[in-house]
């Protein structure tokens, strides 16, 4: 029974979503206020509110994670859907907090926060109705860590790719005013490429270990002879190919810039599809 998040946990999670939504809107308001009057009171209040809400939302998420682990008595991460999605959301929120403190990148929050909110929503939907039951083996642990780790890296790549597309569009249409930028396109491209490189390595390991799991007929997760038709496998493989194309851009520079960013966003959408598809897989 402890595997299923309690109403209290879900309530706190809903509160966290509300607070993070406030952080998202405050961040957008801050961006608009700063472009009009960088030193104005509106920009300052929005900045404080956005930061405060981001910190509060992250703390709430961490609190729910601890509460859930405490109730279950299992402190290992990624043990069930609820915990896994929460972990992903918390990692991404922490990435925003770290980046904004160490290497500020304007606008990062309102591109990554929607992903965080999506993950929290998925935690509510799939965490309650379909608790994930894993059979602990070395392969499955490696598979989960690499797959989820890859997802975090791809989420960052997707969000930063989205930033790149937004920024490049505004630059080309001469709508990006001084003070409205997100950091240079060069930096965004660099972050995308780094994230994709890391994510690709993790996804490759995740795919191999996942295949070992699903191809072994002795395991309950086995997909049988039609494993290659499984949506999760198909989506994961397509995502892998997409990211391979992104990594291929230094060799074929025609792919660099906007195309790389578009592929990063596409790859991340496929990764979300993979994570959703996994919820409908038989056996687990």
């Amino acid at each position: 029974m402890g595997d299923v998040p309690s109403t209290g946990q879900l309530s706190v999670l809903v509160a966290a979503i509300a607070v993070l939504l406030a952080a998202l809107f405050s961040s957008l308001r801050r961006w608009r206020a700063e472009s009009r009057d960088p030193g104005g009171a509106s920009a300052f209040s929005s900045r404080v509110l956005a930061k405060g809400c981001l910190y509060a939302g992250t703390i709430l998420c961490v609190g729910v994670l601890f509460w859930h682990s405490h109730v279950r008595g299992i402190w290992r991460p990624l043990e069930d859907n609820f915990g896994a999605f929460l972990w992903l959301a918390v990692l991404l929120a922490l990435f925003i907090i770290y980046t904004q403190r160490a290497h500020p990148l304007r606008g990062l929050d309102f591109f990554i926060l929607p992903v965080v909110l999506l993950l929290l929503a998925l935690a509510i939907v799939f965490g309650k109705t379909k608790p994930h039951e894993y059979h602990e083996t070395t392969w499955s642990i490696v598979h989960r860590v690499t797959a989820y780790g890859g997802f975090v890296a791809f989420a960052i790549a997707g969000a930063v790719g989205g930033m790149y597309l937004f920024a490049t569009r505004r630059l080309r249409h001469k709508k990006l005013l001084p003070g409205q930028g997100f950091g240079s396109l060069e930096r965004l491209e660099h972050i995308t490429f780094l994230s994709v490189t890391l994510g690709f390595a993790l996804l490759t390991v995740g795919l191999v270990t996942g295949l070992i799991r699903v191809l072994d007929p002795r395991r309950p997760n086995s997909l049988g002879p039609d494993w290659y038709r499984n949506p999760k496998v198909v989506l994961a493989c397509v995502a892998w190919i997409v990211y391979a194309l992104v990594l291929h851009s230094p060799i074929n520079p025609a792919f660099r810039g906007r195309r790389t960013a578009m592929l990063s966003v596409l790859g991340f959408i496929l990764m979300i599809g993979t994570f959703v598809a996994v919820q409908f897989m038989p056996g687990k």
Binding site: G183, L185, R187
Partner: protein
């Protein structure tokens, strides 16, 4: 009586593609002034052509030539373009409005970039060119000298040029939106004019990996390269330089685009599709607008950058008010001075004429009166002088003060000259007075 006229267009009335059609390079401006002098002899003219404006200031006799349509035709004929191509974008001003406009131009209140000082130099250049062409004389000389002085005063006494964005600073800001690190980037400057120098000054502060200066005049390129610690390169190998460039600042006087889409398309592969930031601050434009449609190419022309700069203006309303007050005071002073200058000789002629009439009448009376002593004769002359002075005092005072919309000094002066025949060589009155008639 001289009439001041202005025909022109600027960034608020005409888009860049119209302005560039009508723009005058330095050599063209000199040729245009010469052509103007031939077509309208005796007429003063100053031609101001910058990236943002083309303005023809003239001074001519009140009922002389050219008229507005003739000025339009002159511009159209000189550039060999139909007048319809730019006519709708023109503004036409006369007399006091011209003075107000020119003062607003030199103080940058009429500029897209409020507080910019470059316009002052451009007005001075235009004025000097007109002086050299001997097309600037008794009316435009003092006008332009005062306009330049007003420009300087506003820049010194107001905060108009403080905290402003410039085209160069905005260009650098955009470059920072594209590139993170400049130590491995190559900046290419095509042209070595003043605008290029201004922009390069800002870009040089970013410590780029390489700074290339490419100009038709190799000596100018060398000089600029030395100034910014760059390297002068051959203009004929522009395509090769474009391959290595990450940022291009183009400001040549070329009449047509020097970087076209086919040229740039052919270089993309060699460039390995690297992003490039093209800053085209030339008028006419050096870079074909279609180049900006290519992937990973960010093309900004002068209008794009200046529009950003213009948005900064709303923050300096107080400085604008102070500058406007200075301009208003100088317009009043100039107007009064000009009126005085125009009226002074006419009033002198008026007094001289009627004093002579009075003295003639005194002499005639003395001839009729046989027993007039010398002392009495002096008194009679003094009497006649005082009567003339008193009679003319009120109209002359009103004439001196006439500066309202409904009492323009020019009209009064014109009436004065007509009514009292002041323009005629022989100032003696033709009509006999009543007494003479009776005789």
């Amino acid at each position: 009586m001289q009439r001041l006229l202005l025909l022109g267009l600027n960034h608020t009335t005409a888009p860049l593609d119209v302005r560039e059609k009508l723009a005058f390079a330095a050599a063209e401006r000199d040729a245009a002034l010469a052509a103007f002098a031939v077509r309208f002899p005796g007429c003063e003219a100053v031609l101001l052509s910058t990236c943002n404006r083309v303005e023809l200031y003239i001074s001519r006799e009140t009922h002389g030539r050219p008229r507005e349509e003739e000025m339009v035709d002159f511009l159209a004929d000189f550039h060999r373009i139909p007048a319809q191509a730019f006519k709708d974008h023109l503004y036409y001003k006369s007399n006091r409005d011209v003075v107000e406009h020119l003062f607003a131009v030199t103080t940058s209140l009429n500029s897209m970039v409020l507080g910019e000082t470059q316009i002052l130099g451009q007005v001075r250049d235009a004025y000097e060119a007109a002086c050299k062409a001997a097309s600037c004389a008794k009316t435009l000389n003092p006008l332009f000298q005062r306009a330049i002085a007003v420009g300087k005063q506003v820049m010194h006494e107001t905060k108009l040029n403080e905290g402003r964005l410039s085209v160069a600073s905005v260009a650098v800001d955009y470059a920072r939106n594209i590139f993170e690190n400049f130590s491995d980037k190559t900046i290419l400057s095509i042209g070595a004019g003043k605008m290029s120098q201004l922009v390069l000054q800002h870009f040089a502060a970013l410590s780029p990996g390489q700074l290339l200066i490419c100009n038709r005049d190799a000596q100018k390129a060398e000089a600029l390269a030395e100034k910014f610690n760059g390297r002068a390169v051959d203009f004929d190998r522009l395509a090769e330089h474009l391959v290595v460039a990450d940022i291009v600042v183009s400001s040549t006087g070329a009449a047509q685009a020097i970087i076209t889409r086919p040229l740039f398309e052919s270089l993309r592969r060699q460039r390995r599709y690297r992003p490039i930031f093209l800053i085209d601050i030339a008028v006419p434009r050096d870079i074909d607008a279609a180049v900006g449609e290519i992937d990973n190419v960010y093309l900004y022309n002068l209008d794009d950058l200046q529009q950003v700069v213009a948005q900064n203006q709303s923050y300096r309303k107080e400085a604008v008010a102070a500058a406007t007050a200075i301009i208003t005071r100088h317009v009043e002073e100039f107007d009064a001075w000009q009126r005085q200058r125009e009226l002074g000789p006419a009033i002198q002629r008026l007094y001289a004429r009627y004093h002579r009439v009075a003295q003639d009448e005194v002499a005639r009376t003395r001839r009729k009166l046989t027993t007039v002593s010398e002392t009495e004769a002096v008194h009679l002359e003094e009497l006649a002088r005082r009567i003339v002075n008193k009679l003319l005092n009120d109209p002359v005072q009103i004439l001196r003060q006439s500066d309202g919309v409904h009492t323009p000094a020019g009209q009064y002066l014109h009436a004065l000259e007509k009514l009292f025949r002041l323009g005629e060589q022989d100032d003696s009155p033709e009509a006999p007075d009543e007494g003479d008639r009776h005789e």
